[in-house]
Amino acid sequence: MNEQVTVVRDDFSTHLEATIKRAVPGATGIAHLRRLSGGASQETWSFEAVGRGFTRKLILRRAPGGDRVHDRAVGLEKEAALIGLARAAGVPEPEVVHVLEPGDGVGRGFVVAFLEGETLGRKIVRDDIFAEARKTLAHRCGEVMAKIHHLPLSSLPPLRTATAEERLNELHQNYKMAGTPRPVFALAFEWLRTRLPKAPVPPKLVHGDFRNGNLIIGPEGLRAVLDWELAHLGDPIEDLGWICIAPWRFSGEGPAGGFGTREQLVAGYEAGGGGKVDMEHLKWWEVLGSLSWGVSCGAMFLSFRSGVDRTIERAMIARRASENEIDLLHLLAPRG
């Protein structure tokens, strides 16, 4: 993992240490606190709780700068609750060790057990040590999605609801706001609009960002599903479509995460009790997911041009909308 080695000794680390002494029985301090790179919308820190004769590796997820939270994000306290509920239902998740409270003085966030494994999509689809894991990974992801979608709604914290139609309308607004006419996007919007799933779908817990890059993988298979920031209530097939979109394939073999087929994913989902999946319904969500990635790239341009973020990184992401157009054409008007 790409790590920034910054040892911090300030109010933050002092308060975190005091918090961990209260939350972890036997802990007398913390060690090796460092910020991990990645995740612009949340900070991730790794550290150890240490005591007499023990060390425990932990991860802190925290709102940037302590308390800023993204618009569509569920909020860190709810995220922690969802991780706990999913873990209890058999979804591979780290144990939640502590949810931060205002009195802790560390901001908003939570502490979970550190899990060893690979998260880099490029390595997961390519490295030999994951060759065995790849054979069953798409099936396993389907099974795990079914478990998530089975969580009783009454057990969940309050979450926003986003139906297929609402997602489509929201996306269309964002596309119009960016201003650039994109005939391929217009075609995709029209395709989605005329094929909106007609039968009302009973809302389920949707993870919202279940994809290669948010999974911890070991040589034996899936160890955890991370990043519940975009969890919401909606059409569960959204999760199956999202893991299949091109940006998460990292040049790997197979549409599902770059490591499996749609058929394996769906077979796992049905075997896990998720119910029968209509392949056209899956494709609808794949097109919507793909388009939403492209619209985000377009929005990056807006924030670059307006001066909100003039970095080269931002500018280059804006130039990736054309990649998304080719993905959409492969889906909507396949050639060869």
Binding site: R182, R249, L329, A333, R335
Partner: protein, 129 residues
Amino acid sequence: MQDEPTPIELLDAVITYLRDELMPELSGRSAFLTRVSANACDIVRRHLENAAGYDAAEMARLTALLKTTGTLEELNRELCTRIEQGAMTLDTPGLTDHLWATTIEKVSVDQPQYAPYRRALKTFQAKNS
């Protein structure tokens, strides 16, 4: 007439410096952003070499498809409107050919290593040979 080296030759010199000399000296975020900067120069280079020809070809296709004239932006806006109104669809003769051609030309500037682009390119080259 401007003096030489040409813009493309100047860019090549910058790209070589960023990739071959500067990057090996750096690590972490600086190395990453230097690579991104070199990639951006690659886009500028391909844009300078190809965009004028691609824009002219796109203009010709749009004019034929829409049977009207205007700037590239106006024509693209008009095409979007017709698609949104359902006046042009996947079944409209020439529409998907135009979209494929335009998209392939754009990605050839933006991201020529992108696997789905290379796959599409192979199909098109096989068809045209």
